[in-house]
């Protein structure tokens, strides 16, 4: 247990390396049913991946509000835009590689430009999709979605947060993208941890930090592991950036003002991803050395999720190496 840093709102067992495991898509499935119980205007559409996106829990509970689209992601986005124009709040689910991967223009024109409250749920993001290989491991969705005016981009770190993000997205007026993962990953945040769109949370607070890690998605757990493993030689604070847009500038600058450098961690291309968003903020307001942990302009490949996370240096060890590089620069 880290004696130098204070944990905030973490789930039991996380810092000890014994967390509970659940996929973020489960949190989405649960959250959607809850949101739909409260609001009858919520409808759900799926492009032939109901069970693997967990939208089938909604389908079982609200068959009359569930719409089958078939393997047609452009139709998924555009039918949803039409339903939103008629007063519905549509959640559209597929794999991120296909939605927003295949239907970007339809999302841009018919959802974002129209300003419709369609919630785009991209599951199976990142290399941790595993054996399916590069075609299904979406690594460019954050870049696509955060560049779109009016789009809000959420990237929950665990199943608990995914449930809250789904409820928040349902209540939010505009279009929202929610990024989910396939694999069971650590439940990092406590059940009662607060969640608000646009708010980052400091999950590990060092008293006198040298380095700040900003992580998004399930790799937050790897970032915490890296911080704990290095606690005897370097003081590290860890920020959970689960809303990538709008960016919580205040939380990022608050962390940056206390440290010598920042490590960003994401299961996404470095180009255009969360680290880029952080770099844009820091370059404008508080220039600071940054090390980017993510995919460096390459595709993934088949393998077990753990193997791939290690292969692409996205695990605690890889993050530790980024910390070392950063320390050399500061």
């Amino acid at each position: 247990m880290n004696t130098l840093a204070t944990p905030h709102n973490l789930a039991p067992g996380v810092l000890e390396g014994k967390p509970e495991l659940l996929p973020t898509r489960d949190g989405f499935g649960k959250g959607l049913v809850e949101a739909a119980e409260a609001n009858k205007n919520i409808v759900a559409l799926c492009a032939d991946l109901a069970e693997s996106t967990r939208i089938h829990w909604f389908k079982e509970k609200f068959p009359d509000r569930y719409v089958e689209i078939g393997v047609a992601e452009q139709n998924l986005a555009t039918v949803a835009a039409g339903m939103a124009a008629a007063g519905k709040i549509p959640f559209i689910a597929s794999y991120a590689a296909f939605s927003p991967g295949r239907n970007y223009e339809q999302i841009r024109t018919t959802i974002a430009l129209n300003n419709h409250p369609v919630k785009i749920v991209g599951s199976h993001a990142g290399v941790s999709v595993g054996p399916d290989g590069a075609t299904h491991q979406m690594l460019e969705d954050i870049a696509l979605m955060r560049a779109l005016p009016r789009m809000t981009v959420l990237s929950p770190c665990d199943s608990t947060e995914a449930r809250k993000a789904t409820l928040a997205a349902a209540a939010y007026r505009g279009p929202v993208y929610i990024r989910l993962a396939r694999e069971k990953t650590a439940i990092v945040t406590a059940t009662d941890a607060p969640f608000e769109i646009g708010k980052a949370s400091l999950v590990l607070e060092a008293r006198d930090p040298e380095i700040g890690i900003i992580a998004t998605g399930p790799l937050l757990y790897q970032a915490l592991r890296a911080a704990v493993e290095r606690q005897d030689d370097v003081a590290i604070s860890v920020l959970n950036l689960s809303t990538i847009k709008p960016l919580d500038d205040r939380a990022i600058l608050d962390l940056a003002s206390r440290v010598k450098g920042i490590v960003t961690v994401e299961e996404h291309q470095i180009a255009g991803g969360m680290g880029s968003a952080v770099a844009e903020c820091l370059a404008a307001h508080h220039p600071l050395p940054i090390e980017f942990v993510g995919m460096h302009d390459r595709f993934g490949e088949s393998g077990e999720p753990d193997e791939l996370i290690a292969r692409f240096k996205l695990d605690a060890k890889g993050i530790g190496e980024a910390i070392d590089r950063l320390l050399k620069r500061t």
Partner: protein, 286 residues
């Protein structure tokens, strides 16, 4: 049986002539934009805004209104002209088309101009949106009718057929599509670029009721739209055969007029021709 009186037809023809003149004036003022498509659809837009649609120009977000989705946004001058003549906004504002600060964007934007049901321009996505609206309205037990106006060129797009499949599967009888079958697209004739025929059979195979009419015969078009409403098991598509540039001989059938506006001297000639045509409409009914 005719769903429309001769007097109504005459009124709509007059409105179509007004709309054509306004289109030419708008395009000259804008200095860019599409000419052939808007002229070719003037009769159909006049029929919609002055006869078919349940709408209120003073209350464009009226809940009970029918929805007119324009999928091929590039012909929006005809929609703007029709809306102006119907009273959605003053005719002078039509002349701000494509200008900085105008609500009349080069391609229509829902967020800018009330009464534009969806933002469009990128082709192929209107049918699916219209189908989504029809589906949602039916879920709520509403009887508003949804009309989707499509170009023939955008029948090349996969998204169009995804929407056609969805509407057919769900038997969206509250949805009527109208295809502007003018046989031209930017690169040439549709049948040379990417053949669409047999278009009727394609839609029939997707479980649609298909009607074909002369898109410049207002009576026949209104009858077809009326028949579509009576079909309860299927969505209906009206394949409206139109002449691109209709009303101005120099422009008619010439695909080179697809994407350019008339020059000032050309416009003067065209307006004169349109006014002569209006004389002809009158004499035919007298």
């Amino acid at each position: 049986m005719a769903s429309i009186t001769e007097k109504q037809v005459q009124m709509i023809e007059e409105k179509a002539a007004d709309i054509r003149e306004t289109i030419i004036e708008m395009l000259v003022a804008a200095g860019s934009g599409h000419t052939a498509g808007p002229l070719g659809m003037a009769d159909i837009f006049a029929a919609f805004y002055f006869h078919i649609l349940k709408h209120d120009p003073k209350n464009p977000t009226w809940d009970e209104r029918d929805r007119l989705i324009l999928s091929n946004g590039h012909i929006t001058p005809v929609r703007y002209a029709a809306m102006a003549h119907a009273g959605y906004f003053p005719l002078e504002e039509a002349m701000t088309l494509r200008k900085f600060g105008s609500r009349l964007q080069g391609h229509p934007e829902r967020e800018k101009l009330p009464g534009v049901e969806t933002t469009s321009g990128p082709l192929g996505s209107g049918l699916s949106q219209a189908a989504g609206m029809a589906y949602a309205l039916r879920m709520d037990g509403k009887t508003n009718h949804v009309y989707a106006l499509l170009s023939d060129g955008e029948q090349d797009a996969g998204n169009t057929w995804e929407g056609a499949m969805f509407a057919g599967k769900n038997r969206l009888h509250n949805l009527t599509a109208v295809i502007d079958r003018n046989n031209i697209q930017i690169n040439g004739m549709t049948e040379d670029i990417m053949p669409l025929e047999p278009l009727r059979e394609k839609y029939e195979a997707f479980s649609w009721h298909v009607l074909e009419v002369d898109g410049h015969n207002i009576e026949a078009f209104c009858d077809a739209v009326e028949e579509a409403k009576a079909i309860f098991e299927k969505p209906t598509v009206v394949i409206a055969h139109t002449i691109p540039g209709k009303g101005i001989k120099e422009i008619e059938f010439d695909y080179l007029w697809h994407g350019k506006p008339p020059k000032k001297d050309e416009a003067e000639r065209f307006l004169k021709e349109l006014r002569t045509l209006r004389g002809k409409i009158k004499s035919e009914h007298e």
